[in-house]
Amino acid sequence: MHLESASNIKNTHRGTLLVEDAEILSHESLPGQQHVLRLKSPGIARRAQAGQFAHISCGPELAMRRPLSIMRVDKNAGWIEFLYKVFGAGTKLLTQRSVGELISLIGPIGNPFSAHTEKPRTLLIGGGVGIPPMVFLVDSLKQQKINNYKPFVIMGSEVPFPFSPRPSQFIIPGMPDAAIGAMPLMEDWGIPSRLASRQGYPGCFEGYVTDLARCWLNALSRQQQNEVEIFACGPHPMLAAVAKMAVEYSLPCQVSLEEFMACAVGGCAGCVVEVKTSNGPAMKRVCVDGPVFDANTVFPEESR
């Protein structure tokens, strides 16, 4: 009886997150203390959308779980993949977990990116640990063939990239001569990409991701610029710079944020970010009100 009288929220919100004991299918270590973890998690794989994350128990030794962005899923095979960099006690413990072991996941959590069909020139910018959600977003854009998205991907890193850069098969107008390196997975998918770093890695543009993005934007016609939408994930200063650039070019921009989390389901208000709203500043929870936000609401000072 009372279930019928339940509010709308209940129907859209209840039971949307799964708790799964996921078996480790592969766990690969890469240079720069980075690791790729693939887990059997059919329920979460089926529901996950680009921009969402899972809350992972790294081991019973720790009181808290860790949020990790989802990098790829295979809905049919039922796996889900993460890329993480060793950062603290949790990720360090995670590196010790091996194939065949079970890891508890809660997911998929958060609001995903939402691309708009009238803005088919999607510019994706991923910095460091912000790379995984961008990979997921490209994967989902390329699957929506009818919408004819033309993504361009810029990845930045100050530790070795979690892949070996490959000279790109694509010619991109406006790119500096030295910037020829691309992400192999993107090349295989037929998606143009370029890399930026200040570490002098061969084939990479030496500078910030936003410098490279400006080269690309400046080579577009006014009309083409009007079709651009930006998606970004990475360290806070990078996101602030991307937000500022989006304002300069009057482009819509969504950013994905990170913050310490306890519950990751909206219960504790430990993970908040200050957001500009029509009623003044508000504290929004990164876990369930985000992690994806409109750049101008979380970086209002860059919007002025």
Partner: protein, 335 residues
Amino acid sequence: MASIGITAKIPFDRLQENQPMKTDIKDMPILASQFCGMQFDTPLVLLSGCVGFGEEYTRVQGFSNRDVGAVCLKGTTLQPRLGNPLHRLAETPMGMLNSIGLQNPGAEHVVNNILPALDFSETRFIANVSGSTIEEYVTVTRLFDDSPIDAIELNISCPNVKEGGMVFGNDPLMSARVVAACRAVTKKPIITKLSPNQTDIAENARLCLESGSDAFAVINTLMGMAIDTENRTPIIGANQGGLSGAAIKPIALLKVHQVYQVCRHHNIPIIGQGGIMNAEDAIEFMIAGAAAIGVGTALFYDPLVCTKINAGISDYLKQHNIVEISQLIGTLTIN
């Protein structure tokens, strides 16, 4: 999902079928109980600040508010509060620090917009009232008195606000004044949430009891700090925070035991809390004198922990031929 609340009713159904009563009750001990006149379907209470305003955890498939006797809503003040600066959380050995700073939309918003959306048939909802003056506690209590809320928890022990909170809770006379002032404006059950950051928690409980508190929540978080050695700054934005989780369990257990010595003669129940992670912990708290069992930080690690604790308590009661949880409460034999 079969909740314990429903299974607890099975013995009565079977009684009608004329089956032998004794073995049946052993099969299915009764987890339901009365707490200050409220029907609690199980002894578990979801703790304030860990479950938002009651609907957040229902996002998780397999979680149900029906698996707990009551849900305490987030600490509520008269005016909306944005809360404390970041970071608000830090992990510590077997626990965590938090300094949320009572972020909440204000009592009127809670009463007008949040309570109407809650399903009171699923569980009991308890407001958690905070303030920086006695007048504020009274005004917020009055607003909740005129609402469907089932009970009012006075949070005189929040370590994360500059004024009020623990300033009241650490001074027994001030604590008693807050309780007396709120008692005068509501007939709903008042649960006073006691601070562990004080010298004599039992004396505080005694004064609050005399001022009209119907029950106690024991304990709130303990003050703590964590330091970032690279920056040589506290990790918590507000410098210090409240420690919760398994790390505080032995302290909480002792405080429950101490407060129970005051309460036992007056039939005043306690919601024991602080680091309860599993059924074993829950049973320890009941033996020490807790009539209900608070679950907070444990949810962050395992959102489905409540069904496991309910099942574990049931098993224990069965093994020890205990029919109702009331027969276990305060059964500690002191050496």
